[in-house]
Subunit: 201 residues, 2 copies
DNA sequence: GGGTTATTTTGACAGTGTCAAGATTATTGA
DNA sequence: TCAATAATCTTGACACTGTCAAAATAACCC
């Protein structure tokens, strides 16, 4: 129970994560400073260091939570099967996930964590789990429908790259506008579906 | 002619760009500070401000130069036609361009310029030109080979997203490793080719 | 040569992440 | 119950960042 005039905050760990998330959505990663964050939580500049080893650890915690949501969404969507409609739904949901929380998506996949500061083991684990679930589900749907010499893993990687690349271009506003979203999305699904099988749909 | 003990540097503009490029390749955007840069050029901290309005302007200049190279590469590759081999070559070259200068590629397409600091008009112009050339060449190759209800622009956007997404995943080391590069590249080409025409190849 | 302009410098300011040492409270063990 | 230990939080400090203002120096032009 966090009271305001106490020396100990009460639940600073959770408060920090919550405020950090809000700050991230409002100003992006570059606007998220530990000092601003501490002030919002009503605490001194170095207090957060007793709950997160450093800034990188805090960001990794944020990203980890976000990957859990993504994983949940993937499992929910791909349970619907491999019809063109299901795939279309999945792509739509993925695009929604990315474009409705662009700062969060950029944090999840951006270089801030994956290049600059080393990603936490926990983050790597949950990030890979998301992809593994995607690849597994896709592999199941593709059973026997794949052309010869085609690895399901490669299809998973290539198709993820397609949707992911689309998100990046959309979010940063390069080459693809918000208005084009639906049309390009459909085209991307056509790309994926066409490669899935040279047999009929 | 830049001499060392002169008050005026002589050719600071060019020197800054050159050293900035090197610093970028060595340490990435986050390691590129104006102060380090000034020191490397043998000049005081604020000297660069008389050649670039601010840090953003300098980075935009770097990216602009890089986009020119990319544009040149695109035109060179796509002149080879629309055969599967030509497309494969193009994708290979694009991946090479991105993975051999990862920091440069991240600067070109990353949020640092497109979200954080406003991109220069010059940068926007050359960036869009690259894509326009790609779309035009692709459109030419696809003349009459496209299924009904398929816009060439959408194919250009979707296919670019595929290759671009692949580069991002590769560079940051997410989901796709360097060793998978060739295999995923081929799979991506298969994706693109399959969508290009439902007629035979 | 003198005045204008371009270039460079020093000084300063606010902001950042994070370390060290001390202050305060919670928790635990005897 | 109460002292010892651990957890939590604070103040102070340091090095680093981008950038502004004002002054110094050099080049250029008529």
């Amino acid at each position: 129970m966090p009271r305001s005039d106490r020396y100990h905050h009460g639940d600073l760990h959770a408060t920090l994560l919550q405020e950090a998330n809000q700050l991230l959505n409002e100003q992006g990663v570059e606007g998220l400073s530990l000092r601003k964050l501490a002030e919002r939580a009503g605490v001194s500049r170095t207090a957060p260091y007793h709950h997160f080893r450093d800034k990188n650890a805090l960001l990794c915690a944020l990203a980890t939570r976000a990957f859990s949501q993504l994983d949940e969404m993937i499992n929910r969507q791909l349970r619907k099967g491999g019809s063109k409609e299901a795939i279309q739904d999945f792509v739509r949901e993925y695009l929604r996930f990315a474009t409705e929380n662009p700062e969060q998506y950029e944090l999840m996949f951006g270089r801030t964590l994956w290049k600059g500061g080393e990603p936490t083991d926990e983050l790597k684990s949950v990030a890979y789990r998301s992809f593994r679930h995607y690849a597994e589900q896709l592999g199941g749907m593709l059973q026997g429908r794949l052309p010869a010499n085609t690895d399901a893993l490669r299809v998973a990687q290539a198709s993820w790259a397609t949707v992911h690349g689309l998100c990046r271009l959309l979010i940063d506003g390069i080459y693809v506008n918000r208005e084009d979203m639906e049309a390009v999305s459909e085209q991307s699904v056509a790309l994926i579906m066409a490669a899935l099988s040279h047999s009929e749909d």
